[in-house]
């Protein structure tokens, strides 16, 4: 069990508690170690991908990817290296920003194994920016997180860098490719 979970088990801070069996972490206290949500460098993403104009449509349901698990739970496979508020708890989804926030296009990427097919996928953790902390479903998983000098894999950095505002709101987890070593 993660220490963040233990913190909540102890119930030491009244407002900080699990709110459902989803295990989505809620509110205060859990960002104790790491948290600004954020993620290493993939400037390439900006040019390689088409930006969608569609709002709240085509959020990955028909992508052909085998899926399992709950995108509103910190346990969800795509979040293996996330550190921030889950956008799905903030009016967005695991791959869409909440209304009025702006998605960063330069991002950090992680590599997570999809239990549905046993393959490892490249995940782009795009921050949503321009509103203050969503405050819901803080999720921190430090697998393969590295210090800030390893910029492209440090989850202590706020990646609201190419957005109109530097203020961090929440984080998405977009599948953008298959990892070679899977």
């Amino acid at each position: 069990m993660n220490w963040v979970d233990r913190l909540f088990e102890q119930g030491v801070r009244g407002v900080a508690k699990r709110t459902s069996r989803r295990g989505a972490l809620e509110k205060i206290g859990m960002m104790l170690a790491g948290a600004a949500a954020t993620f290493p460098l993939l400037p390439v993403a900006r040019s390689e991908e088409q930006e969608s104009d569609a709002a709240a449509s085509n959020e990955g349901e028909e992508s052909g990817l085998k899926e399992t698990g709950d995108p509103l739970s910190c346990d969800y496979w795509r979040y293996c290296a996330i550190d921030g508020f889950l956008c799905g708890c903030c009016g967005g989804s695991h791959n869409a920003c909440p209304p009025g926030s702006q998605m960063s296009r330069v991002t950090w990427i992680g590599t997570c194994e999809n239990p549905a097919d046993g393959k490892s996928y490249i995940i782009s953790y795009n921050d949503c920016c321009g509103k203050s902390s969503c405050g819901n479903c803080l999720c921190q998983r430090n697998e393969r997180d590295r210090p800030v000098y390893r910029t492209f894999s440090a989850n202590d950095i706020n990646w609201c860098l190419d957005t109109d505002s530097a203020i961090y709101h929440c984080t998405t987890a977009r599948v953008i490719g298959i990892a070679l070593d899977s």
């Binding site: 009016g91 920003c97 009025g100 298959i178």
Partner: protein
Amino acid sequence: MKIPGFACKSLPLAVALVLANSAAAQFEPDPLGLTRELPAVYPQSWIIAQDASFFHPNDGKFIVLDAADDSQHGRYKGMFNGSFVAQLAIAESRPEMYVVETFHSRGHRGERTDVLTFYDKRSLAPVGEVVLPPKRALTLPIKFSLQLVDEERLGLVFNLTPATSVSVVELERREFLGEVPIPGCAMIFPTGQRGFSSLCADGAMLTVHLDAQGAVLSTERSETFFDAQADAVFEKPAMHGRMAHFPTFLGNLISVDLSGDSPVIASPWALANGVEGGWRPGGVQPAEADSAGQVYMLMHPGGAEGTHKDPGSEVWVFDPEARQLSARIALRLPAISIELTRGESPLLVATNINLNLDVYDAGSGNHLRTLADFGQETPLVLHGAR
């Protein structure tokens, strides 16, 4: 100041992996840049919780929630900020909301700037602003500090420096028009076509009518109708259309019809007439009306001087025309603010003393659910969305 000999360091290996594989992938990568939108007209069950964030007031929030949704994530629709005890007004005739807020150039210091910010209901994004004289009243949230008149063409902002006045904003052209002094009076209660009334320290009501350019057409002062020392009226009436129902500290109700040019002030009547226990109204937002005109009031027993902000353990429902108590709802937890959702089967939403929102069926009084853990700090006031 270049350092000679420094080349661009290698990109992370993972990036190379992505590029090498995405073409061959058996699936579509997730699209980039998706942002959710909301409907232009909010469903009847939605509310907006005004979180003044009293411990971090530069980071106030307006949180859009569906009070009818049992799912923790499904009920959270979105959020927009309001800086330093901001106030909110929601238009009905266009998909806009207005936030009057205060900034300093260096967060908590430096030059003060007051702004009326325009939000699109669909995008929850700021779509415009009007800079105001830096005079807006900095108080705990009171709905009657920001009101819309003239079929939502004019926005009125209550100022307190401590001299009191009202800033007038043209909402379609997004333009500051001017300032109307209201010495000795406070708050904004829309009146008639293009006017407003204010409550005055001497127990009278001041009514001001404007022209389309925001200039004063006429002013009128009512007879004194209450005694602020002996039995003050709350500056937070339950509004049903242009009918304002003002509770008083001692537990009377004074209904004022503001639909015409001059306020028509009814005689007071006792809310707890015939009920034992010293029940009085109280709280941060103690009174609201539903779409049918029923008045809901947070009530606490054992009322005395100084209890007028105590949380209510019950909500009493009144028929203001019949001057009758029609129902008593025992709350699950005492509450400090209430709101009703729109429509024929309204929900009663109450900010309880844990600073969570309890949702009741307003008709039966049954507790339906509690909205907790939605990123709030101090959600002091609730707004029925529309």
